[in-house]
Amino acid sequence: MNDYGAVSASVETVPVANSSDVVTARQMVRTLAQRTGLSLVHQTKLVTAASELGRNMLIHGGGGVVRATTVADGGRSGIFVEFQDQGPGIPDIELALTDGWTSGNGMGLGLSGAKRLVDEFEIESGSGGTTVRIVKWGR
């Protein structure tokens, strides 16, 4: 993933420790997306992805932090969101990104589905935790 110059240096942060925090986090992402002028469909896709990833982080990583900010690249602007936990990490990322693969009680669409909903998707995982970064562009 490119290192995007942040339009606003302000980064919104929401700590996630329970399922109501996931709601708070996705509302924060929605507000940011609306302010950036993402179309309704783009907003919906981004917020849905944030919801999936936020829940994943809570269930598998024991909670963590969601950070979001506006990014710009050339003439377009978008939203960057990072999900960071200190959980046990994902042993096999390839496998976790496969449709239908689940270790919890979801439908196994969390990671793979979220990846399809955004324009850029990056995942890093180790024994120190998991970090997922996504970008959704305005157009």
């Binding site: 399922s19 109501s20 996931v22 709601v23 996705r26 509302q27 929605r30 309704l40 469909v41 907003q43 919906t44 896709k45 917020v47 849905t48 919801s51 999936e52 829940r55 449709d99 979801g106 439908m107 669409l109 969390g110 793979s112 589905g113 979220a114 399809r116 909903l117």
Partner: protein
């Protein structure tokens, strides 16, 4: 203590209108409340109105699908009504198609569909 989504009884129909951004616990509670209510009231149909929902993720999607299956086992048809276009497009991309869930454009059409189903069942 989280809020619960109200389940309203109108004749033989249970109506659920989701008006708030759903927390996972509320989703699980709703599923339980609905199956309890179907048994308690002997309802023949369930209408879940999601027109106010700005997002439906895989968790809520799974609840809708599971709920349709459970209610069918209990002798009631479930209709999900009012899904927004942006939500439908997102669900498709997410990989969810809600197979086995009956749907209608809005509450009125949902009620009509229920009536037709119960008429054809006799």
């Amino acid at each position: 203590m989280t809020d619960r989504v109200p389940v309203l009884k109108i004749g033989e129909i249970l109506l659920v209108s989701i008006q708030v951004d759903l927390e996972d616990q509320m989703v699980l509670d709703l599923q339980e409340d609905l199956s309890n209510q179907i048994v308690a009231t002997g309802a023949k149909g369930v209408v879940i109105d999601i027109s106010a929902l700005e997002i439906v993720d895989s968790f809520v999607g799974r609840m809708l699908a599971t709920n349709a299956s459970i209610s069918r086992v209990l002798g009631a048809e479930t209709i999900v009504v009012g899904m927004r276009p942006a939500v439908a497009m997102t669900l498709v991309e997410l990989g969810l198609s809600l197979k086995g869930v009956r749907t209608a454009l809005n509450l009125e059409r949902g009620l009509k569909l229920l009536r037709r189903l119960s008429a054809s069942r006799g």
